[in-house]
């Protein structure tokens, strides 16, 4: 009976994924690094990023809109530039965080050096992101780092 329950839960959760992470954002213009911690979960239609440290914030991308909810429960919709960049980076985070996506993605060129995959972007992301490095072990992504054209970096380390 227990096995059947596990099997059912696996089937229900198939297609959905989630992981905790630490984020290190280096801003070259300020020559400073900022750390945040949170969790990202996604299924076929939705991505939710919940930051717990240093402040609580939840970002939800439902495929069309991106909304942000603060600790007070106040929600607002992103617009313009903020919407564009947030969607872009959520999309990149989803893809780079999963080796399966990473390998089959039509948007990247992959070069493997030991445990590191060097990712070169093929499309419009190329205008913003110089390259990415993905560290994987046993076919599982451990961390990835985005190198921006302006010298900024964004590193996600799975916990």
């Amino acid at each position: 009976m227990r096995y059947i329950l596990v099997l059912c839960l696996s089937v229900m959760l198939f297609g959905a994924s989630s992981y905790d992470f630490n984020e290190y954002k280096f801003v070259s213009a300020a020559a400073a690094t900022f750390k945040q911690s949170g969790n990202i979960s996604f299924d076929n239609s939705k991505t939710i990023i919940t930051y717990s440290q240093p402040k609580y914030k939840q970002i939800i991308d439902d495929g069309t809109d991106v909304t942000i909810t603060g600790k007070s429960g106040k929600t607002y919709k992103l617009k313009g530039k903020a919407l564009f960049y947030t969607k872009l980076f959520i999309d990149v985070m989803r893809r780079l965080g999963d080796i399966k996506y990473l390998k089959k993605s039509r948007d990247f060129l992959l070069v493997k050096k030991e445990n590191i995959y060097i990712v070169e972007f093929k499309n419009e992301i190329k205008d913003q992101v110089l390259k990415a490095e993905v560290e994987a072990k046993n076919s599982k992504v451990k961390s990835f780092k985005l190198f921006m054209k302006n010298g900024d970096t964004l590193e996600i380390i799975k916990r």
Partner: protein, 696 residues
């Protein structure tokens, strides 16, 4: 020799046709038949703007697998020579991004307010705090750290999609939308590719042409088969005179060939549709043949001088001559064609057929006398019916209602249009004599309707560009850069703004539209055109250089104008008919007039009972009028009514078999013609057979 004259004339005309056919131009452009030159030009503009050249394919689901499948499809579609572009992502292409980079300072709205040192410091401080405290990554805009330039170039979604269904792929075809053959080829190729994909929805405006044409083709095949069977039954089993049948067909063939040759000389081109309807109208001349045949006139030597056939012919001929002055291509070409072919047919049946040795048939009902109906009563009834119809008839000027109703495609078009096209905008085509004036026109509209979309968003007129350039050149960026460098360092920025406002002095006005902009400028007949989208919330004041892209409205306007002209000419024709009938019958005019008025009034009455009248009803009413005049004249002038009745019966059955079967069509345009002819023929039968036969 004279016995073969009918065949020889046919062979001679066929020979002439073979020799001169390369010089005769046949047109397949159906639009020019119904619509004004302005509308035809408008369609050419639309075609060049490629507003209906898109194919949309939606894949169910918003996951990676759905996107992957669309990319696989895109790869397959790109292999087709008819597909010029396939897009899934809404993000600007590399060419467009490079264009934006090059022209950024000119395209963006520039706030040239002079900023003090304190203001610059404050703005940089805000940027720094945003950068440090932001939990979502947003790169610092080092090119314009003070936000002097504002422009919205990014789409708010990465992919085109249908809400609650899935992502959408958009392919663009390079085929001419008026080429039915190429449309069909592409349609078949697409269906073959899509047959291996599941949960897909596909729609393209040209699917209507392909699917509806195919349906109409099958419809016509069905009708032609029924008509052929009926005509064969009529001639082989009822009439049983094969010689008459063969020579009748040859004479009609000669009349058609003669009309084609004459029209080839008189007209710059003959439309295929005119040819098709012209041939049908020529078959009306079979009346003359039947009248001569049943009265035994073919035994006469030389030209048959038969008053009733002559008056029947001259009235029909006159009506077509009057209609040839209508300024609508379909009507004047068709009237000219019909007048010529009927003239040739009349001459052939009246002269050549007398050498064929065709004997008068034996008619069983010879010894009967027919009591006439009261023409005054019939005319009065007709006038009452006209009155009823006049007060109840409504004209349907929507051409779409004449087409086959393709429910499946209509539903798909609704789904895609609702989700993909900018539903909250009104589409307007603007025009000007030069590109520069066109862009200036856009800019003028932009001041009135700031949310306007169009090519002018990405390409500026020379005038506006120079004005912006001047504004840029007058601004002191050197001073500003110095302040930024000093203040940024104080705040904590590390050499971030070394490239700020760089190259701003090198900017020049050299903006050339590129394909990926989504909007384009085209040239048609010495004028330039482009499409603009203006939010529906505005009540746009239109001028001569602005034409809303509402095809139904444009066509309806033309149809209304055409209808007014047709009705005017129909009244003129009726006046002409009255004059001819008066000359023929004087005080007895009501009798032949009843044959013209009664069928038309009955038809109009039935149309008013069952629906609205359309342009094809009007067209068929003209044919009905041409038929009924002959019968009115024959019945009035005839001294041997049984033979006349017999001749009319066969002619009516031929018309019913040829035109009446169109009532079985699913296509409203064809059904309308069939409806008018069937009801009209029944009305004439009522007039002929609704009387008492008495043995003498």
């Amino acid at each position: 020799m004279k016995k073969h004259l009918n065949i020889l004339i046919f062979l001679f005309l066929s020979g002439l046709f073979i020799v001169f056919s390369p010089q005769i131009k046949f047109s397949t452009n159906f639009l020019e038949l119904f619509f004004s030159q302005k509308t035809v030009t408008f369609f050419d503009v639309m075609s060049k703007l490629k507003l209906s050249n898109n194919i949309f394919i939606a894949k169910k689901g918003f996951d990676e697998n759905s996107l992957d499948e669309l990319y696989v499809l895109a790869k397959e579609l790109k292999k087709l020579p008819e597909i010029s572009k396939v897009t899934i992502s809404l993000l600007p292409s590399k060419e467009l991004r490079d264009y934006y980079k090059k022209n950024y300072y000119l395209l963006a709205d520039f706030n040239n307010t002079k900023l003090s040192k304190e203001m610059v410091a404050q703005r940089l401080q805000n940027s720094y705090e945003e950068l440090v405290n932001s939990f979502i990554y947003m790169p610092l805009d080092t090119n314009d750290p003070l936000g002097l330039f504002k422009i919205k170039l990014l789409p708010h979604a990465k992919y085109l999609s249908i809400k609650d269904y899935g992502y959408v792929l958009r392919a663009t075809t390079n085929i001419d939308s008026s080429s039915t053959k190429k449309d069909k080829e592409l349609y078949d190729k697409l269906n073959l590719i899509l047959s291996s994909h599941k949960d897909i929805m596909v729609y393209a405006p040209f699917f209507f042409f392909v699917e509806n044409s195919s349906h109409i083709k099958h419809d016509i095949q069905k009708i032609v088969t029924i008509a052929t069977v009926l005509l064969l039954f009529l001639y082989f089993f009822m009439l049983k005179n094969y010689k008459l049948l063969v020579h009748g067909v040859i004479a009609i063939g000669s009349s058609v060939l003669g009309a084609v040759l004459a029209c080839g000389v008189l007209l710059p081109s003959i439309n295929i549709m005119v040819l098709a309807f012209g041939i049908s109208i020529t078959t009306i001349s079979i009346d003359y043949m039947f009248h001569y045949y049943f009265h035994g006139y073919f035994s006469t030597k030389g030209f048959i001088r038969q008053k009733s056939v002559f008056f029947g012919f001259i009235t029909t001929f006159g009506v077509f001559v009057i209609f040839s002055f209508i300024d609508i291509k379909l009507f004047y070409q068709l009237s000219l064609f019909s007048a010529i072919s009927l003239l040739i047919a009349y001459i052939l049946f009246s002269s050549v057929f007398t050498y064929l040795d065709i004997q008068k048939p034996i008619i069983k009902e010879q010894n009967q006398q027919i009591k006439s109906f009261n023409p005054l009563v019939v005319v009065l009834v007709s006038l009452v019916l006209f009155g009823y119809s006049y007060s109840h008839l409504k004209f349907d000027n929507n051409l779409k209602n004449l087409d086959y109703k393709n429910e499946k495609l209509l539903k798909l078009s609704k789904i895609f249009n609702k989700s993909l096209t900018k539903n909250s905008y009104q589409n307007i085509i603007i025009s000007a004599k030069t590109k520069e004036l066109l862009l200036q026109k856009y800019e003028k509209l932009q001041t009135l309707y700031p949310e306007i979309l169009g090519i002018g968003k990405e390409v500026l007129s020379e005038k506006k560009c120079k004005k912006r350039l001047d504004k840029l050149q007058k601004y002191d960026f050197d001073r500003l850069k110095k302040i930024i460098d000093t203040e940024a360092q104080k705040i904590g920025f590390k050499n971030a703004f070394k490239n700020s406002y760089a190259n701003i002095k090198k900017v020049n006005c050299d903006m050339k539209p590129i394909e990926d902009m989504g909007f384009k400028i085209i040239k048609e007949k010495q004028k330039y055109y482009t499409l603009v989208l203006i939010p529906k919330k505005y009540k746009v004041v239109l001028d001569d250089s602005m034409q809303p892209l509402n095809i139904s409205q444009i066509l309806s306007k033309d149809i209304d104008k055409a209808t007014d002209t047709i009705v005017k000419f129909m009244f003129m024709s009726i006046c002409f008919i009255l004059v001819v009938l008066f000359l023929l019958s004087r005080r007895d005019i009501l009798y032949p007039l009843a044959f013209v008025l009664f069928p038309i009034s009955i038809v109009l009455f039935f149309i008013s009972l069952f629906g609205t009248i359309n342009i094809m009803h009007l067209f068929a009413l003209i044919i009905l009028m041409a038929i009924s005049i002959d019968y009115g004249v024959y019945m009035h002038s005839s001294t041997s009514l049984v033979e006349t009745t017999m001749a009319i019966k066969y002619a009516l059955l031929s018309t019913l078999a040829g035109f009446g079967v169109l009532i079985l069509s699913d296509t409203v345009a064809l059904h309308s013609i069939g409806f008018v002819i069937t009801i009209g023929v029944v009305a004439i039968f009522i007039l002929i057979y609704g009387r008492k036969y008495e043995d003498i």
